[in-house]
């Protein structure tokens, strides 16, 4: 049903932003440098703002009386529809930078396509978000290149992170029925159309960073359908604890 697919699609966008924001927030106060700490938490705040917009709209379209808070704090992990990439643990800083870079390139492409959505509200949210994401991407590229083409240790760590996270990148482009249906209606974007542009930019940045692009073809999937690894459960336990222990609490 179109409305169900639409709310699922919106939830995916919101969940990506929410889960990634939670991951970035874990660096708060623990960043390798004060400036990096500020940068990551700023990015997290931007993403939380975007998550609020997407999840609010998703709740409205879904029509089951769930608002942004209900969706964020009272769904279980099997109901979360984020990409597997964003729930991967922070690891070392190289891992965080690589994860962010892979996501930011995709995120900007998706948001750009969504600014042309037939749905005005989607186009509106995308137009606001893309300004923030343009900066996220710029920062990601700058860091990626400097750490990749850096010292022997930073390059080693970056290559290791690339090799480990590569298998999570395919999910970003694998369209399922929901995305195909909405794409056909002009409401959303078929992610498989973004793959070439993504690869082109990734190639360019990898070259500058003197890192090797993995050749692996096999890709992890299932996040968009609610099939997650063990990491998401732990992340949600921390994120949702307060609201679940004290439902409706305010301060």
């Amino acid at each position: 049903m179109l409305l169900d697919d639409k709310s699922i699609y919106l939830m995916r966008l919101g969940d990506n932003a929410l889960v990634l924001a939670q991951r970035l927030s874990e660096w708060c106060g623990k960043g390798p440098a004060f400036e990096e700490d500020m940068a990551l938490t700023n990015t997290a705040l931007d993403l939380i703002g975007q998550a609020r917009m997407w999840l609010s709209y998703a709740g409205e379209v879904e029509g089951r009386g769930r608002d942004e808070d209900a969706l964020a704090f009272r769904r279980d992990s099997h109901e979360f529809t984020n990409l597997l990439l964003v729930e991967q643990p922070n690891g070392d800083y190289a891992n965080t930078v690589v994860r962010q870079f892979f996501f930011d390139v995709w995120h900007q492409l998706v948001l750009d396509a969504l600014t042309r959505s037939a749905d005005d509200r989607i186009a509106d949210i995308a137009s606001k978000a893309i300004k923030e994401v343009a900066y996220h991407l710029r920062r990601s590229i700058d860091l990626f290149v400097r750490l990749g083409d850096g010292s022997a240790e930073s390059r080693r760590r970056m290559q290791a992170a690339v090799d480990e996270l590569w298998m999570y990148t395919g999910e970003m482009f694998k369209a399922d029925e929901t995305e195909e249906l909405l794409g056909a209606q002009g409401l959303a974007c078929d992610p498989s159309t973004l793959k070439d542009a993504w690869l082109a930019m990734v190639h360019e940045v990898f070259a500058e960073a003197t890192l090797e692009l993995p050749a692996g073809e096999w890709m992890q999937k299932g996040g968009k359908q609610g099939r997650h690894g063990e990491h998401l459960g732990l992340l949600l336990a921390e994120m949702q604890f307060l609201q679940r222990a004290y439902p409706g609490a305010t301060w």
Partner: protein, 93 residues
Amino acid sequence: MKEWPLWEVFIRSQHGLAHKHVGSLHAPDAEMAINNARDVYTRRSEGLSIWVVPASEVTASSPADKEALFEPANNKIYRHPTFFPVPEEVKHM
């Protein structure tokens, strides 16, 4: 991060005409310094333009020279531009 040089940050806001010194930060190079300045110093207000200058490039007058450099001007009130009203239009001179 100990090898990152120090940069002085100057920001011109929407409503201002001149870059103001807002603080300093560490960054490996100029590009990253601009990014970091944007993150650290423009969080709560809009900036229009950011300048970053390596702290090592800033030459400052010595506090010990304060009297020799600035005292003489204070005594010569005929040099001070305070005896006529400045028109509204050139308020920011």
